[in-house]
Amino acid sequence: MPESSERGALTEAVYYILLALHTPMHGYGIMQFVKEISNERVSLGPGTLYGAINTMLGKGWIKALSNEGDSRKKEYEITEAGRRVVEEEIKRLEELIINGKRIIRGEGK
């Protein structure tokens, strides 16, 4: 996990939830979106999703769209801070992929 100013990697769940919330969605919608976009590979547990949503609300990466407190239908949306987090993560992932592909092909450093 991040030490000093270094930022850690996002979990797969957090990354995909942030992608999902580029469009406002409620919990079940996020689960469906993540399943579809990952070709059924990632199946988010509702308990894991709930924990991630609350943590991200606390960090200001996503916001709840007002919906009279019924958490069954409450919709969430990514914030500017959340978008920056995703952009940083994509840069990090690109670095991982570029390095991985080059090295397994034997192209050295």
Binding site: T11, E12, A13, H26, G27, Y28, M31, V42, S43, L44, G45, P46, G47, T48, L49, Y50, G51, D70, S71, R72, K73, K74
Partner: protein, 182 residues
């Protein structure tokens, strides 16, 4: 048609497994009262059951919000007991696991371990206290009630041991996996 079965479980994993076995033969669990499980006759294999220990009592606003959220994802809160919740979801909707990563699974098992560990500690404390009082009074007046209660406490404490050890090992194993995978 409804039917009830009397059974005692200390390990929630075994309890969950049993409820799913019952559901697979069409006996759908609907209500728990101490040592009694109530079932309703239904279609075999219709539901998947999952048990969860909440952080707070089900009547707490935080727990209510969580249960509502769960219901919004297609799960149904069948019953609650103390801080335990019995969820179920239609098997036709696919796999049903409340947690999908090591971090949240570890957190849940730690919560259970501390809950059951506290009960275990209380039993041990009570066992020692009652043994001491029981022997004092017994020697004095030939009244061994507390000594008898103590033996019940010892039995409960011993019955908890394998479960506590298995949860502890499970947490350790998941922590190792977490160093490699999410």
């Amino acid at each position: 048609m409804k039917s009830s079965i009397r059974k005692i479980y200390v390990n929630f994993e075994k309890e969950e497994k049993w409820l799913n076995e019952m559901a697979s033969i069409g006996l759908n669990f609907i209500h728990y009262s101490p040592i009694k499980y109530l079932f309703e006759q239904g279609t075999p294999g219709e539901y998947i059951y999952r048990l969860e220990l909440l952080d707070k009592l089900p009547s707490h606003p935080e727990s209510k919000a969580y249960i509502e959220f769960m219901e919004g994802t297609g799960a149904e809160c069948v019953d609650t007991y103390l801080r335990w919740v019995y969820f179920r979801k239609r098997a036709a909707e696919g796999a049903f696991d409340i947690y999908s990563d090591y971090a949240s699974r570890i957190k849940h098992y730690k919560r259970i371990l501390s809950f059951m560990g506290t009960l275990w500690g209380l039993n041990i404390g009570s066992a020692i206290y009652n043994l001491w009082i029981g022997l004092e009074i017994g020697a004095d007046r030939g009244f061994y009630f507390n000594a008898y209660i103590s033996s019940v406490n010892w039995l409960v404490a011993v019955a908890f041991m394998p479960m506590l050890i298995s949860y502890y090992k499970k947490i350790r194993k998941m922590k190792k996996e977490k160093q490699l995978y999410e």
